[in-house]
């Protein structure tokens, strides 16, 4: 059985995702596959995406992968990356098309003529390294409290937010390249935001599913840490 399947629907290069997963999980069998049966049998599924969402949706269906992706997103550790995050939602302004509808909400474009606080033009695509502000259930100051007796530090599942942030500094920078972003209807799903210049959701999670707008496979040590956390994640 494949430990980790990277869903290949012919949109772009999945080699970097595979290399990065290999680096954090050298023992795992990792397969880039467009075969629905492989995706269905895999222990974990990574769902990447590049380019334009209408093309991604079309190719996903052309290869008969929709059902396998839907099933994986509902039943096993699942990581969406970039367009692989956007496709999970109901609707995208890119091409005005429906998405997979696993999560409620839509995908919208950054406004034209964005400016930062100093009045400088902000380019679209949003490209480069931006800070990722993890949503943590407890206030910021409490992160510095001493470890509780007998416990492993602060118990990152609670004070440090989602387990996929384990060991990743608050406001660590990740590599982004995108012109559209997601607006989840249920804001409780949001696990992190970035500013451009307004805050937007850059990570969402529900049950066994985690999805990010940035590229962990291209985000050096912070990205590898997130992938390592995903590989070790056992959601209930």
């Amino acid at each position: 059985m494949t430990d980790i399947a990277i869903v290949d629907y012919g949109m772009g290069n999945l080699r970097s995702v595979q290399q990065a997963l290999r680096a954090v999980a050298p023992e795992a069998s990792i397969e880039v596959s467009g075969d629905p049966a492989v995706v269905a049998r895999a222990g974990r599924v990574v769902f990447p995406g590049q380019g334009a969402m209408p093309d991604c949706m079309r190719e996903l269906d052309a290869r008969g992968l929709r059902a396998a992706v839907l099933q994986a997103a509902r039943g096993k550790p699942f990581l969406g990356i970039c367009i692989g995050l956007q496709m999970l939602f109901e609707h995208s302004a890119e091409g005005n098309i429906p998405g997979l509808g696993i999560l409620e909400g839509s995908v919208v474009r950054f406004a034209a003529d964005l400016r930062d606080g100093q009045g400088n033009k902000l380019k679209v695509p949003h490209m480069g390294w931006n800070q990722v502000r993890q949503i943590r259930p407890r206030p910021e100051g409490e992160d510095t409290l001493a470890p509780s007796p007998g416990g492993e530090g602060l118990g990152w599942g609670s004070a440090h937010g989602h387990p996929l942030w384990h060991g990743i500094a608050q406001d660590a920078r990740f590599y982004f390249v995108h012109s559209y972003y997601v607006q989840p209807q249920d804001t409780a799903l949001v696990q992190a935001t970035s500013d451009y210049p307004q805050p937007f959701a850059c990570a969402v999670a529900r049950d066994n599913l985690f999805a990010v707008q940035f590229h962990p496979e291209k985000s050096q040590s912070a990205g590898l840490a997130l992938l390592r956390n995903f590989v070790n994640w056992n959601p209930v």
């Binding site: 949109m11 080699r15 390294w129 800070q131 451009y196 985000s219």
Partner: protein
């Protein structure tokens, strides 16, 4: 907020990194895989590899270099030089490039930019523009490693490339390349003001102040440099700390 990027550039020929002055007088700087790893450790935000000879023999060597780097370095890799058709883009992406830079062929066949962007997405298509000042406030595009004048205006050309689907512009001043006298700031400013997509300033960085000025006065989204890093004058980390002290947002 989004950080300004520092991108070391590795000009590669026959499997070695080299650096010239105004596109000639090449000097050996070392093994590309080793250099790539060093820059990654120093905190480089991306790496750019330019195959400056792009002969068919060298092509295989370049692919092996990119493959090796992509196995060890997990930051975006841009590769350019000798990209003539969509298949070249595909081969480089498959070797491990995240972005492919198109220069001469964008001029001889602009449709290539449109086709490659449509097929693989604008996010992986960089158009490299080599520009030389032709009159005050005017710059002309050159191709073939700076040997051939095109008559094209650099700002208008950059806008056309954006409209065809380029995701980013790598803008090199031929007047400044290798001179270490600083980026051509008016050129950088003119192009970056005219575009919605990010612009990488290139050609001429000789001091850390030059890098900072490319962002502060040129308005660049990223700065690319070779010589100042290759020969150990400065590390990428030093460059970032310097820029941060000047109030520029960087990834430290």
């Amino acid at each position: 907020m989004l950080a300004k990027r520092i991108i070391p550039c590795l000009d590669v020929t026959a499997g070695r990194v080299v650096k010239g002055v105004s596109f000639v007088q090449l000097r050996d700087a070392g093994d590309p895989v080793e250099i790539a790893r060093r820059y990654d450790e120093q905190g480089a935000d991306e790496l750019t590899f330019l195959d400056i000879t792009a002969s068919s023999d060298d092509r295989g060597i370049l692919f092996r270099i990119i493959e090796q780097v992509a196995e060890q370095v997990f930051i975006p890799l841009t590769v350019g030089g000798g990209v003539r058709q969509v298949e070249d883009v595909r081969n480089l992406l498959n070797a491990g490039a995240d972005k492919v830079s198109i220069n001469t062929s964008a001029v001889t066949n602009p449709q290539l930019v449109a086709d490659a962007a449509a097929r693989y997405g604008s996010q992986c298509i960089v158009v490299a523009i080599d520009a030389k000042q032709s009159a005050p406030g005017k710059w002309e595009v050159f191709t073939h490693g700076g040997r051939k004048a095109t008559g094209l205006d650099a700002v208008a050309w950059a806008k056309k490339m954006q409209s065809l689907g380029a995701g980013e512009i790598l803008l090199t001043s031929m007047d400044r390349d290798g001179q270490k006298t600083g980026f051509d700031l008016p050129l950088t400013r003119a192009v970056t003001d005219a575009l919605e997509i990010p612009v990488i300033a290139s050609g001429g960085a000789g001091t850390l102040q030059h890098l900072a000025d490319g962002v502060k006065f040129g308005g660049a989204d990223a700065v690319l440099a070779a010589s100042i890093f290759h020969y150990g004058e400065y590390t990428v980390q030093q460059a970032k700390q310097f820029m941060a002290q000047q109030g520029i947002e960087v990834r430290l």
